[in-house]
Symmetry: C2
Subunit: 347 residues, 2 copies
Amino acid sequence: MTDPTQNTRILLASRPHGEPTSDNFTIEAVPIPVPAEGEVLLRTIYLSLDPYMRGRMSAAKSYAAPVEVGTVMQGGTVAEVIESRDASLQVGDVVLSFTGWQSYGVAAAKHVRKLDPTLAPISTAVGVLGMPGFTAYAGLLEIGRPQPGETVVVAAAAGPVGSAVGQIARIKGARAVGIAGGPDKVAWLEELGFDVALDHRSPTFGDDLKAAVPDGIDVYFENVGGHVWDTVLPHLNTYARVPLCGLVAHYNETELPPGPDRSSRLMTSILTKSLTIRGFIQTEFVKTHYTAFQEDAAEWLRDGTLRHREDVVKGLENAPEAFAGLLKGTSFGKLLVQVGDDPTRTS
Amino acid sequence: MTDPTQNTRILLASRPHGEPTSDNFTIEAVPIPVPAEGEVLLRTIYLSLDPYMRGRMSAAKSYAAPVEVGTVMQGGTVAEVIESRDASLQVGDVVLSFTGWQSYGVAAAKHVRKLDPTLAPISTAVGVLGMPGFTAYAGLLEIGRPQPGETVVVAAAAGPVGSAVGQIARIKGARAVGIAGGPDKVAWLEELGFDVALDHRSPTFGDDLKAAVPDGIDVYFENVGGHVWDTVLPHLNTYARVPLCGLVAHYNETELPPGPDRSSRLMTSILTKSLTIRGFIQTEFVKTHYTAFQEDAAEWLRDGTLRHREDVVKGLENAPEAFAGLLKGTSFGKLLVQVGDDPTRTS
């Protein structure tokens, strides 16, 4: 692990052209920062790695400002308070924060959220009980609006968003069809109770999907794009809803694919099938739905109807490689980097 | 006009490849049909020509079954009852019907709607008070949901749908920007009270649109596609809504345009701007919104806040050419074919 007397941090060294490589990152050790009044000094336990970070590495306009070259990569973290200059937090408290790819960070106390380690493992605050779980909950229920008996299809179904989407769809009485890459992921989705789990790498994927949705698709939760979307689109029913929160298959694209230009055909499909395609970022729904999510998800987690899986990589220095793998689909479950010891785990 | 002792009708002779031509239609005269019990014999006064008819001429799967080759072209009509075998309708009644491209037709009395010629000109039943007006009303208010002060942009704004969209947007307190082809149409939109009217054929159209939407676009009512859509897309605001009810620019396409393939870029725009793109056909909203539409539209028409314009072509035999022009944008206002005398007009 990292030198505990210094702050090890990973900076964006350059903007990637295509897949991010180790050249796009710099690792360095600097003095541990000092908190000001109202702030806390945090020791990072877990760093969350998420596909949206690829967007922040690019200068292209998006819903959030890019990470500037030469600054610390952004990211959600679970951290321990090791010095507090705010009455609301004590040394030893574990918090959800956004201190990024570094072993220590300073944050305003009002910008972190204290976690209760007795309620759920602290790492779930960046997974099934955090942003990914909430993305699934809000997007599926507010945009997808699955009705009992309808068919919900979700891509990247073994990821933290997709696995929650399928399980919540089933909780709401819909059929859940999960699409993932590789037999291990497919087996896990079946274990979770997905009605059907499909491997998009299979040469028979097109036929498999057709057979899996005899009544068509009412909700397609889209976070991938690419050939999965192309395969799904013809099976969407009239009035189908497509919550769209990610396009991982396209994040590393350096130029548009060759023609023909299918964009007018996509619009024609939306027209003739009365489809709803709705992009969203979970922050849109925080004010209106976060409290309900926390109550529902905590209950489902307790009663076992909502399960999750973590893929924990040890050591901050391994974050760049793990992140590159996330974009290629090599991680399995919620990808976390364990940056420092977890005081809540006795193992 | 047509021989009043026979039923003149226009059949689909063949499916068009690209633009419909006269070869795709056959005109013939057959005996006037005889109504059965519960039916009425109708004399066509006005035939409505609408872009959706291009879709019915093709075999491609859409929201409605295609017109079969060798059968009468479908279409909404305003007609006079000349023989009635149902107690609900009398000879001389004027009705809204769907008897298609022919001078006489038989319909079940329960499938036509009696019109009151004292309330509004009967031709409005297929225009501002009919399907096009309702398409504008339902799509704008239910999907577009413009808020006071927001910017609504509509294409084909001099058509019966677009002109209603812009005027209803203004009634609801939004800014209305209309896009049409040619200076006459632009002048009429300004007369109607659109905040800005733009000519998409102008070489400065891109700059004109940019200048017309300093706060971006919150609602784009889409019924065209093509280069207008390409120009609009970059100006859509986060959370913009795109009700999509037509793609006239693409109806005559015989193959996909050359590359690159911009479909993933379209999806990326939907994602990064949290857009809603929603295809619809007005029939979806009939049960829930038609009564409110009729009340609102009749009131707006009476008080002059909702104006409309008709482009009346005389003679059923001219329907094919008029329809081809509709797809090319040569009509101006609601396109009607006057098939027979209008007994409610004294001129």
